[in-house]
Every structure is written in structure tokens, then in C-alpha cells.
């Protein structure tokens, strides 16, 4: 290979990395850009009189262990029950889950709980599409069965729908157990930055790869776009893109107190599986090509970059040995080398931003983050990137070889130990420190 060609390749890779790193930093820091944005991103200070009705979709599969607790908590929501419908959706053969749901309804007197059973292939998207068809309220939302949801969430959402012009509202979802695994702090921070800041950026741009739960839709909008894609692995992001194509208005609310709390995958293996699924899902969306119909080039580039980022990084890593070989054996023009050094600086800034994020996360959630955790965060930065790369490569290979099955993550409820305390919204968080 000639030197010019090598130089060209390195230059292109460096430039793309540079642009991506800059874009990523801009999105990550979007909310902190000005005090105005920080203020606007939170919850409203006062609530309006309840006006909107909510149908909560709770797709469940073999979740008898947690579904009752989830219903009990949702039942505690400070919102008129006649305006809320809690719809557990599961296959008819999942009797354990059905019984657990019915038992909870009885035990806690939850009249607004309905259980929707269906036959045939189980699947979250299918469950939700069925739920959508049966929903009786105008706003639809989804919670996972293991989610900790704020009791004030309906008041907040109702208020925002009244005050702002909004069609789709993504509320914050936050992993909590930042110290449960070597990778959890990074995973927690991904959620932190994603929902606290990056989502706001996407919402402003009008092109949003939505999260899987605590998203609120107008039922009409969902019906208009035909509900969820039952074949994709990341039906949530897919739906977001389709709503974006229709020009729906997005908004995001992240408030430390009112985030939906989730847990980090219970092992490295589970993490890789989950991440593989997401990355592969992105590839599927990419392949479907609907995103190319987004109304502006800016949106296409934005969504395209989100969908391709993991794969691109995987390719870069896969090519790393080649680049090292080039670096050792040839002398590239100094300016090219200098340029390829810039993304490295930006990666360092990203790492330092993560450290700050961990501090803020702790402060937000009232957690004490020990110095050791910061050190661990820095030390595990590169291994974590490696894990992401591995998942991305794995996803690409699976997609290329046609393995498109679902690798489900197991939930153990480690984020909600001490679940029977009177104030569940806060206590599990404190408990998670012990986990």
C-alpha cells in the first residue's frame, strides 16, 4: 500500500473520529451549556389540575416475582385512579404472572388494573401493540415490570402536556447501582448523560431514538404510525425514528427525584448480551432504511451517526492492529499524526466529564461516592470501551450471520432491596449502596 493511500486512510479515520468525538461531547454536555437549559430540563415547580388519562402498558413474561410489587407502587401514584389504566400484558400460558397480577390487584385494591392475555408468539412489541389496541386513555406509556416509577410521574407528565406543545415525552430512566459491578459506574453514567442531556439534544433536533420505557405517547400518534415494529430488536428507537419522520414534537424531562430507576445488567455477560441486542437493533433499523426518510439532511445525519456509531467504532478497533502496524513501520506526515492525536484529547475530556458526571450523579441522588469509585471509574475506562467494542463487533457478526434472536436480560431486583419500606421511591436508592 502506498504511503499516500495510508495517509489518506488515517486522515479519514482521524477526521471521522474527530467529528464523532466533538458531536458526542456536544450532546453529552448539551444540558450544561447554559443555566437556562438546566432549568428547562427539569420537572415543573407546580402541577396543573389532572386532565389527561394514562394507559400504562406493562408487558410481562415470567415476571411473577416482581409484577405484584410493580403494580403496588404504580397504584400509589398520586393521580386520580379513574384517569389511569394499568394494563399487564402477557401470554395466556404465563399463568404465574397472571396470578401474581390478579393477587396484587386484590390485595392492594387496585381497581384500575387490567390483565390482557394473548396467544401465540410472545414478544414485547406484540404485547404493546395489543395493549395499544385495547387502551382506553389518550396517553400511552410503557414501564418495564422491574421499574421503580415515581408516584408523581403522572402529575408531572400531565402538567407538561398541558403547558407545552408536546406529542412524545421521554422521562428520565436511570440505572442506580453504580458500584455493583466493575462496569456499572460507566453504564450508570451512560444513562445519566443519555437521559439528562443527550436526549434533550435529540428532542431539540426533532429526531429522537427513544428509550424503552417511561415514554409517553398520544395513542392517536401511535396508531398513525402503526405501533411498534414486532420484528426489530430495538423497537423503541425504531418507533422514535418513525415518529420523528412524522414530525411529532418531542420533549424530555429528567429530574433526579422522579427518574425511573433500573438496574445494571447482573453480569458482564448479561451486559454484553444487552449491548449486542441494542447494537444489532440499530443495525436492523439502519438496514430498513426508514431513517433516510427523515425530513431534513441534518436529522438523517444525526440519526445515521447514532445508528452507525457502535459499528464504526467496532471497525476502527478491528483495524487497530493495522493502524499500529502503520504507525510502527511508516512515518506519516506530522500534521496527520497531530490531527489523529486530537480525538485522544477529546477522549480524555470525555473521561474527565464522566468523573464530573459521577460526582453530579452522586449529588443528585444523595449518594456518597468514595474517592475509590472515581479512581475505579478512570481505571476501568479503557476496559469498558473494550467491552463496548466487543459487543459492537459481536452485534455486527450476529447481524451478518443472520442470528437475530432475542437474548433477554434477567432482572433480579437488586435496585429495589428493602422494597417494602413506606417510601419506595427513595429508599431503594440508599439500599443499592449495600448491593
Amino acid at each position: 500500500m502506498s504511503l499516500e493511500l495510508l495517509t489518506g486512510v488515517v486522515l479519514v479515520v482521524a477526521l471521522v473520529l474527530l467529528v464523532q468525538a466533538v458531536a458526542s461531547l456536544i450532546q453529552t454536555l448539551y444540558i450544561w451549556d447554559s443555566p437556562e437549559r438546566i432549568r428547562a430540563a427539569g420537572r415543573p415547580d407546580t402541577y396543573e389540575e389532572p386532565r389527561h388519562g394514562f394507559t400504562v402498558l406493562l408487558p410481562a413474561r415470567h415476571e411473577a416475582a416482581v409484577i405484584g410489587e410493580t403494580l403496588r407502587r404504580l397504584g400509589e401514584a398520586q393521580y386520580p385512579t379513574e384517569l389511569v389504566e394499568l394494563m399487564v400484558i402477557c401470554t395466556a400460558d404465563d399463568t404465574a404472572t397472571i396470578q401474581a397480577a390478579e393477587a396484587a390487584k386484590e390485595e392492594h385494591g387496585l381497581d384500575h388494573v387490567t390483565v390482557l392475555m394473548f396467544d401465540g408468539t410472545p414478544g414485547k412489541s406484540r404485547a404493546m401493540n395489543l395493549g395499544l389496541a385495547a387502551a382506553k386513555h389518550e396517553l400511552i406509556t410503557i414501564f418495564d415490570s422491574e421499574d421503580d416509577v415515581s408516584p408523581e410521574i403522572f402529575s408531572i407528565v400531565d402538567t407538561l402536556y398541558q403547558r407545552r406543545e408536546v406529542d412524545v415525552l421521554q422521562c428520565g430512566v436511570q440505572l442506580m447501582d453504580h458500584d455493583s459491578h466493575w462496569f456499572s459506574a460507566h453504564n450508570v453514567l451512560e444513562y445519566f448523560f443519555w437521559f439528562k442531556s443527550r436526549m434533550h439534544y435529540f428532542a431539540k433536533e426533532g429526531a429522537v431514538p427513544l428509550g424503552g420505557n417511561t415514554v409517553f405517547f398520544r395513542a392517536d400518534d401511535l396508531r398513525e404510525v402503526g405501533g411498534w415494529d414486532e420484528h426489530g430488536l430495538t423497537e423503541d428507537a425504531d418507533l422514535g425514528i418513525r415518529l420523528s419522520i412524522r414530525g411529532k414534537r418531542f420533549d424530555v424531562m429528567y429530574d433526579a427525584e422522579h427518574v425511573t430507576r433500573e438496574e445494571v445488567p447482573h453480569s458482564t455477560r448479561a451486559f454484553v448480551k444487552q449491548r449486542t441486542r441494542w447494537n444489532q437493533g440499530f443495525l436492523q433499523i439502519l438496514r430498513k432504511g426508514e431513517w433516510l426518510h427523515l425530513p431534513s439532511l441534518r436529522k438523517i445525519v444525526l440519526i445515521g451517526s447514532v445508528l452507525t456509531a457502535p459499528t464504526f467504532m467496532a471497525i476502527v478497533i478491528a483495524c487497530a492492529p493495522l493502524f499500529i502496524l502503520i504507525g510502527v513501520t511508516t512515518k506519516l506526515p506530522v500534521l496527520v499524526s497531530l490531527l489523529s492525536f486530537v480525538p485522544l484529547i477529546l477522549a480524555a475530556i470525555m473521561l474527565m466529564t464522566s468523573v464530573l458526571g459521577l460526582y453530579e450523579f452522586g449529588k443528585d441522588q444523595g449518594l456518597r461516592i468514595t474517592p475509590y469509585r472515581y479512581l475505579a471509574l478512570v481505571v476501568s475506562f479503557i476496559p469498558y470501551q473494550g467491552l463496548l467494542m466487543f459487543s459492537a463487533v459481536r452485534a455486527s457478526l450476529r447481524e451478518l450471520t443472520g442470528k437475530r434472536g432475542w437474548e433477554k436480560t434477567v432482572h433480579t431486583g437488586s435496585h429495589r432491596q428493602g422494597a417494602h419500606q413506606p417510601k419506595p421511591a427513595l429508599v431503594p436508592v440508599m439500599a443499592s449502596e449495600r448491593a
Binding site: 450544561w32 447554559s34 438546566i38
Partner: protein
């Protein structure tokens, strides 16, 4: 329904000047600033060395992608001249403004305008939006003569300043965004990379960051500012690393690093100059400070008053005015740099001036802020503006509007363009570089500092300064030479002749002997001497140091004697080297000690000194050959230095010389060579015959019969050749008109061709070159004797004489070989001169002196 017009409550909100009024006022100040800056900006101040350095580096960057014209040595970070290069690229080098320096100064005008606006906005924002603060600050910035002096120059400091001010402005954005913070960080990083001392402004930025950011944003603001500034600066170090020029290079055999390195250069620069407390009058800070006071007292006084006043305000407000704190941090940080005890160059003040101006504006606004908003307050602010403007008019200098400091520099360059052969090697002040090397036909023009140190450039002149052709001497070169930083340039200056001097209307005190110059508004061109002249000059220095004692005695301690011929040799060199003082001293000593003969004013030939250094006349006899030379030297000196007394001395000697040193017999007038000066024996030393000297004396003193002396001398030589086949050392002209042996009088060697007769050769060669055929005949006759004598009696006398002969006549030997074997081998390469006895010296000197009289085609290339 009725609408009720509610008048807004005006007391709580400050009275706002309409935007149009503000725009007009700002436009007026900026226009004033531009006019004061632009008027006369090409002519004042003189073009500083560095200006051309940065321009040529910028040009090199934009045309060749190089960071320097030659090897980039990491002496400064390159962002400054990258910007300059961009500007030159945009404006087509010097095409658009009639020269590169001019183009650079136009860029500085634009920078200055930008800085004026920045000063206005920053002062205003740091004073709660008070327009008066901005106007006062911008006015001070526009009118400061110290500022104008440096802001007009193409200096990295000015580019650094605009970047620093931009970085500050970005942090004053409200609300402060991270985008602005990152922009500020990058701008500050670039400022540091334009001029590293920008780093001393750093603390002030941290205060502005603290003040500007809010709550959760603050930590991100700090992180991103520090990271973007640090990351930008880091790239410079990474660049050095990637080039493998970060760490010191391994040393070569001579202990020199094999390539440049950032660490080496930084170490060198940090080690420059000794530490001195800033209040030490001899410290470089104090000297710079004094020079600032001379240029501009008003701004320094105003600035000092502002700093004191703002500090008082800060204390009175219990430190609750963060903008004052930030400004003080900027000023104190930079002053700490100036007063750190290291080298301070006068231009270092430039980046501080906008901050002093902003401080004055801030104080003004805070003082008027003590009044209620309204007409009185506005009037007070207006009065301040008028007072400050008046202060500059009354106490400030107007030199920058009137004086032409570049005229002499331009003239020197023009002289070179008209007189100097293209392709010549020219070293000197870099101001001439763009016009000579980039725009003109002298690619081997070199910045004197690089010529001294850059191996690449030293190769151009073969690492031998004697190969340099011209030196463009200016204030800056003189200053560096006087500091001892450029010893080669000192060598060049010492071995050059002044060929063009432009000092018209200079305000500088110039004493080149003492290496003193006080201003740069003059320029000279010096031509480096030929190698032969350099040898002669160094030889004279050696002669003077080793043998000239007292006030003009030439004394060789072994054997402890002074001779009239030695004195003549000293006078000849002093005259050739234009050393009038020593010439006078030597002649005075000669007169005092050797001219006490009874009856004439001729010179006794010998003064003896014993082991204890006590001297006395060794012999009162005269040597006529010495006297005739003295005569000639006195006449030449009289002409050279316009000294009639010397001419009169020469005349009085001539009278006695003709009386005592010549005899006429049988129609032949010859020079008598008897040691006592008597004419009784008619002893003749043929080598005393010097027709070349006689022809010159004939022009000066036509009363004497010089022509006869020449004709008869040649007749004698012809007769000797005819009768003896050679010219002997001595001969006796008997009463019967025969040429008899002188063996009985002067010893065995008298009849042979030897050490004395040799001396006739250069004399005859000179006369032959003047067209004298009789000289050729004699030379042809004695050539075999010269060759034979060189074989029989090898020594400097025979060798140098044979070489001279071989240069003019074909004697079957290559003069270059002779030179290399006998003459060059005597040369000490360090001192460019030779060791050895006075006699050896005289022979070698004679050969080199002879080269000066030869046409170029006959000279040999000297090593």
C-alpha cells in the same frame, strides 16, 4: 375597556443610552484609534528585527508549509506567524501594500482596531454595562504612545493580545454557555501558542469562569475551559514529540546536539540572563521600565492610579466586585512575569497596556457610578474623557505621528540592491531579509542570530565567517554583539569596512567602538574584508600585542633591541590599519629616542635594552633604507589623516636624507648604505633601491632628483648583472668607478645573492607591474639565484620571496603549492595569524602585504 399606559419605573433601571448614540460614540473612538495608529505607521517606529523574522516565517509557512525559514528551533510557539502567514497569503505577500513589512503593519492596524473594540466591550461588561467605562478604556488604548510604538510593530505579542482579549470577551457572555467557554479556552490556548507568556494571564480567567458559570454548570465550565486551553497547548508539545524533537538530542563528537529539541531550547531560554531583583537599577526590568517612562508617562501613571483605585474599591466593597478581582489578577499575573527577575525586553509591556486601559475605564465608571444617573454623571464621564485626551496631547509625545525612523533602513537596503552583486552572502538585521531574500536577488541573506547558530545556515558560508560578504549593521545587531551573544558577528564587524552609512536624523547615540547604540533608526552596510586583509589585520593585532610597548616602541625582548626598521614596520601597519593614535605614538617614541644625531634629523638604527628593561641608544648610525621608508610613511600618513605636521617632518628628513644618504660620483647618484651614514666608503646595498617609493616621493617632493636616483639605480643593477651575473648583497663603488667586493666591510656573504638581495625582489616586482621594463630584466637575471637560494638556504625569507616571484613570473613552480607549503603552514587557524620571531613576522607580513598590490589574477586563494 380602557387601556392604561403605565410608565415603567425608571429609577430602578439605569438610564440607557440609545444604541444609535452608543454606536456613534464607539465608531468615533475606533476611528480615532485607527487614525492615530495608521498615521505614519510605515515610517515609525523603525523596523525591528523580529518583525521581519515573523513575517518571513509566516511566508515560509504559507508558501512551503515550514514553521521557519530554516530549521525551526522551538524558540516561540508558531501560531502567531501562522496567522501572519495566512494574512500574507491572502494579500499576496507584499504585493498589495508595497512590501512585506508594510503588509505586516497593515495587519497590525486591523488587529489594533479589533483590540480597541475588544477593550471597549470588555471594560463595559466588566463595569455593569456602563458605556463610560468602555469609552475611557478605548480612548486610553487608542492614545497611549507606548502602545502605538509596539502595536504598530509586527509582534507576536499583539497577536497574543487579541486572542487573550477574545478569550476574555467570550467568558463575559451572559448567560455563559459551555460553547463560549470552550471557545474561550481554545482562544487562550492559541494565545499561549502565539506567545508563551500569555500563560501569566491564566489566573484572571479562572476568576471570570467562577463568576460567569452557575451551579451545576460551573464544574463543567472549568473542566472544559482548562481542557480546551490545555489541549490546544498540548498539541504544540505533541508536535515536537512527533517530530522527535521534544527530548534533547544525543550529542555529536564535538559535544553539540545532533538536532534541535524543545527541551534544549526552553532550557537555553530559561537560563538566559542572570537573576536580578526588579528594583535593582541594573536589572533588565528596571532598564525596560525606564525606557517605558521615557516613551509614555501618562499611561503608566493612569494605569497605576487605576490599579490602586480599583484595589481600594474592592476593599471598600468587601471583595464583592469579582470583575475588579479578575482585572487585578490579569494585571498582577502579568506584572509578576515582568518582575520575575529574568530578562525583560521593552516590548513585553505591550500585552499589559489593554489591561491598564480597561482598568482606567473600570475605575472611571465606578467613580462616576457614585453619582446618581443623570446629566451630572454623564457630564463627569465626558469630563474624564476630555481630561485624559488632553493629558495625552499635553504630556504625550507626538513622535509617532511625525518622525520617519525607517528612512535610513530603507536607504541601506536600496544601496545593497544597487551596489551589491546578486547572490552575495549577507548577514545582519533581519529587517532587510524580506526585501533582499524573498523579494530580491539575495537568497543567501541571513538573520544574524541564525547565521551564528543554525548549522544549516553555517553550511551556506562554509562555517567560516570570512566567506560572508556583507554585514547589515543596525542597533539590534550592535546590541547583541555588545551582549556577547553573537561572537562571530563581532568577528565579522571587526574585519569589515564601512561601505554605506545611513544615520541621517537618527536620534541614536552611536559609538561602534564601544558597541553602543540607543535607537534603531539608522543602518550601515559593512563589507567583509578579503582574507588577505583579514590576515593583515589580525597580524597587526598580534604585532601590537606582542611587540609594541610603552607608547610606541617595537621591542623584541630577545635579543632586547629596537631598530628603526622595526619602527618603520610598525608605522606601516598602523597606517594600513588606520590606527592614527598608535601611529603617532610610534613616531613620537621614534623621535624621542632615535632622532638625536648631531647635524641631522635622521634616525639612529638601534636601541638596546638590557635584561632589566633599561634601554639606551645602541648605535647612533642611521640606516638609509629605514629613513626613506619613514619619509614615505609620514607623507602617506599626512595625506590619510590630513596632518600637515607629518608632511613637514617628512620634508625635513628628506633634506637630511639627500644630504647624508646619497652620493653622486661620476654622474651616478646612488643611495649610500654605509652603516654610519657617511659617504666615505661608497658602500652600496642594492636592495635599498626602491624605485616605487621614489616615484611616489617624486610626486610629493619634486625638488629632489628622484628620477635620477631611479635611473642610476637601474643602471647600477644592470651593471652588476652584467659584470657579476647577479645582484650581490653588498657592493663597493670605488673612486675609480669600479664595483668592488664588500667582503672586507660586511663579511663573506657580501658578494653573493642572499638575505639582503632578496628584498630587492618584491620592490622590482612592484615596479615591473607598474610597467618598468628595466625591472623585468633584472628579475629575469636573478630568478635562478632566487630559486637556488631557496634550495640552499631554506627559510621564510627565501620561501616568501620565491613565492612572490612565482606569482608574477613563471619560474617552474606553482605559487599555490609554495604558499601552502611555506606560508599557509605558518598560519594559526584560530587567530588567523602566525607565531614566531619578529624577523619571521616581517617576512610573512611582507608576503601578505605584497598580495594587496597584485592584480587579482595573480593572487593565490588563501586558506
Amino acid at each position: 375597556m380602557t387601556t392604561v399606559a403605565v410608565k415603567p419605573v425608571s429609577t430602578s433601571t439605569p438610564r440607557r443610552t440609545p444604541r444609535r448614540t452608543e454606536a456613534l460614540l464607539v465608531a468615533a473612538v475606533v476611528l480615532l484609534s485607527g487614525l492615530v495608529h495608521a498615521w505614519n505607521m510605515f515610517d515609525y517606529p523603525y523596523i525591528e528585527n523580529d518583525e521581519a523574522t515573523y513575517l518571513s516565517r509566516g511566508w515560509s509557512f504559507v508558501t512551503e508549509g515550514q514553521l521557519d525559514v530554516n530549521t525551526y528551533r522551538y524558540d516561540h510557539a508558531p501560531v502567531g506567524w501562522m496567522i501572519i502567514g495566512g494574512w500574507l497569503g491572502l494579500t499576496g505577500g507584499g504585493d498589495m501594500f508595497g512590501g512585506m513589512v508594510e503588509a505586516g503593519r497593515v495587519l497590525m492596524l486591523l488587529i489594533h482596531l479589533a483590540n480597541t473594540v475588544l477593550v471597549y466591550v470588555i471594560a463595559k461588561r466588566m463595569s455593569g454595562g456602563r458605556m463610560s467605562a468602555g469609552l475611557i478604556a478605548a480612548l486610553v488604548f487608542a492614545l497611549t504612545p507606548l502602545g502605538i510604538y509596539f502595536h504598530r510593530r509586527v509582534l507576536l505579542d499583539n497577536l497574543m493580545t487579541v486572542l487573550v482579549l477574545l478569550a476574555i470577551l467570550l467568558l463575559l457572555r451572559r448567560p455563559l454557555t459551555l460553547g463560549a467557554t470552550v471557545g474561550s479556552g481554545v482562544a487562550f490556548g492559541l494565545a499561549v501558542l502565539a506567545k508563551l507568556n500569555a500563560a501569566f494571564f491564566g489566573v484572571g480567567f479562572l476568576i471570570l469562569l467562577w463568576v460567569g458559570s452557575v451551579g451545576a454548570q460551573r464544574k463543567h465550565a472549568f473542566l472544559n475551559w482548562l481542557a480546551s486551553a490545555g489541549g490546544t497547548v498540548l498539541l504544540f508539545f505533541v508536535y515536537a514529540l512527533l517530530n522527535n524533537e521534544f527530548f534533547p538530542a544525543p550529542l555529536d563528537d564535538e559535544g553539540q546536539p545532533t538536532h534541535v529539541s524543545l527541551i534544549d531550547t526552553f532550557e537555553l531560554q530559561l537560563g538566559r540572563g542572570d537573576f536580578a531583583w526588579p528594583w535593582d537599577p541594573a536589572s533588565s526590568f528596571r532598564m525596560a521600565f525606564d525606557s517605558w517612562l521615557v516613551k509614555d508617562q501618562v499611561t503608566l501613571l493612569l494605569g497605576a492610579a487605576a490599579i490602586v483605585g480599583l484595589t481600594l474599591f474592592l476593599v471598600a466593597r468587601r471583595f464583592r466586585d469579582a470583575h475588579i478581582l479578575a482585572l487585578l489578577a490579569f494585571v498582577v499575573g502579568y506584572v509578576a512575569f515582568l518582575a520575575r527577575g529574568g530578562i525583560v525586553i521593552d516590548l513585553y509591556i505591550a500585552p499589559l497596556l489593554p489591561f491598564l486601559a480597561i482598568g482606567v475605564g473600570m475605575l472611571g465608571a465606578r467613580l462616576t457610578g457614585l453619582l446618581r444617573p443623570g446629566a451630572l454623571r454623564s457630564a463627569t464621564a465626558a469630563a474624564m474623557l476630555v481630561t485624559i485626551g488632553g493629558a495625552y496631547v499635553v504630556w504625550g509625545t507626538s513622535a509617532h505621528l511625525e518622525v520617519d525612523e525607517t528612512r535610513n533602513q530603507d536607504a541601506a537596503v536600496t544601496w545593497i540592491e544597487q551596489r551589491v552583486e546578486p547572490g552575495s552572502i549577507i548577514v545582519g538585521d533581519n529587517y532587510a531579509y524580506p526585501e533582499l531574500a524573498i523579494e530580491g536577488p539575495y537568497p543567501d541573506t541571513m538573520y544574524f542570530f541564525n547565521a551564528e547558530y543554525d548549522p544549516e545556515l553555517r553550511d551556506v558560508y562554509g562555517d567560516d565567517w570570512r566567506n560572508v560578504d556583507y554585514l547589515v549593521l543596525t542597533h539590534e545587531v550592535v546590541e547583541q554583539i555588545s551582549q556577547g551573544t553573537v561572537p562571530r558577528m563581532n568577528d565579522i564587524l571587526e574585519h569589515s569596512t564601512l561601505v554605506a552609512s545611513y544615520t541621517d536624523g537618527t536620534s541614536s547615540f552611536i559609538d561602534l567602538d564601544k558597541r553602543i547604540s540607543t535607537n534603531g533608526d539608522w543602518a550601515q552596510v559593512w563589507q567583509v574584508k578579503s582574507r588577505n586583509q583579514i590576515v593583515l589585520q589580525d597580524a597587526w593585532e598580534r604585532f601590537r600585542d606582542d611587540w609594541v610597548v610603552s607608547y610606541g616602541q617595537v621591542l623584541e625582548l630577545q635579543p632586547g633591541s629596537t631598530t628603526s626598521l622595526d619602527q618603520a614596520l610598525a608605522l606601516e601597519q598602523a597606517l594600513a590599519q588606520d590606527d592614527e593614535v598608535l601611529f603617532d605614538g610610534i613616531w613620537q617614541w621614534t623621535s624621542d629616542h632615535l632622532r638625536h644625531r648631531d647635524g641631522d634629523r635622521l634616525t639612529s638604527w638601534h636601541w638596546a635594552v638590557d635584561d632589566l628593561g633599561r634601554g639606551e641608544l645602541g648605535s647612533s648610525d642611521t640606516v638609509c633604507a629605514a629613513d626613506q621608508r619613514l619619509m614615505g610613511l609620514l607623507l602617506d600618513a599626512a595625506t590619510a589623516w590630513d596632518d600637515e605636521s607629518l608632511r613637514r617632518e617628512a620634508y625635513s628628513i628628506a633634506v637630511d636624507w639627500w644630504e647624508q644618504c646619497t652620493f653622486t660620483y661620476d654622474g651616478m647618484t646612488l643611495v649610500d648604505s654605509s652603516a654610519d651614514g657617511s659617504i666615505d666608503d661608497r658602500l652600496v646595498n642594492p636592495s635599498y633601491f626602491d624605485p616605487v617609493l621614489y616615484r611616489r616621493l617624486a610626486d610629493e617632493m619634486p625638488v629632489f632628483a628622484w628620477d635620477e636616483l631611479i635611473d642610476d639605480g637601474y643602471a647600477l643593477l644592470a651593471r652588476l648583472v652584467d659584470e657579476r651575473g647577479t645582484v650581490p648583497n653588498w657592493v663597493v663603488y670605488t673612486e675609480s668607478g669600479e664595483l668592488a667586493s664588500a667582503v672586507s666591510l660586511t663579511g663573506d656573504a657580501a658578494d653573493t645573492f642572499g638575505e639582503d638581495a632578496l628584498r630587492l625582489v618584491p620592490t622590482l616586482l612592484r615596479d615591473e607591474l607598474g610597467g618598468e621594463e628595466r625591472a623585468s630584466a633584472v628579475l629575469d637575471a636573478i630568478t635562478p639565484d632566487v630559486i637556488a637560494y631557496a634550495d640552499d638556504a631554506p627559510g621564510l625569507g627565501s620561501a616568501t620571496t620565491l613565492t612572490m616571484l612565482a606569482q608574477v613570473h613563471d619560474v617552474g613552480v606553482d605559487p599555490i603549492d609554495l604558499y601552502l607549503e611555506h606560508i599557509a603552514s605558518e598560519l594559526d587557524p584560530e587567530t588567523h595569524t602566525w607565531d614566531g620571531t619578529l624577523a619571521d613576522f616581517a617576512w610573512l607580513y611582507g608576503w601578505h602585504r605584497f598580495q594587496e598590490d597584485l592584480p587579482a589574477s595573480m593572487t593565490v586563494p588563501l586558506i
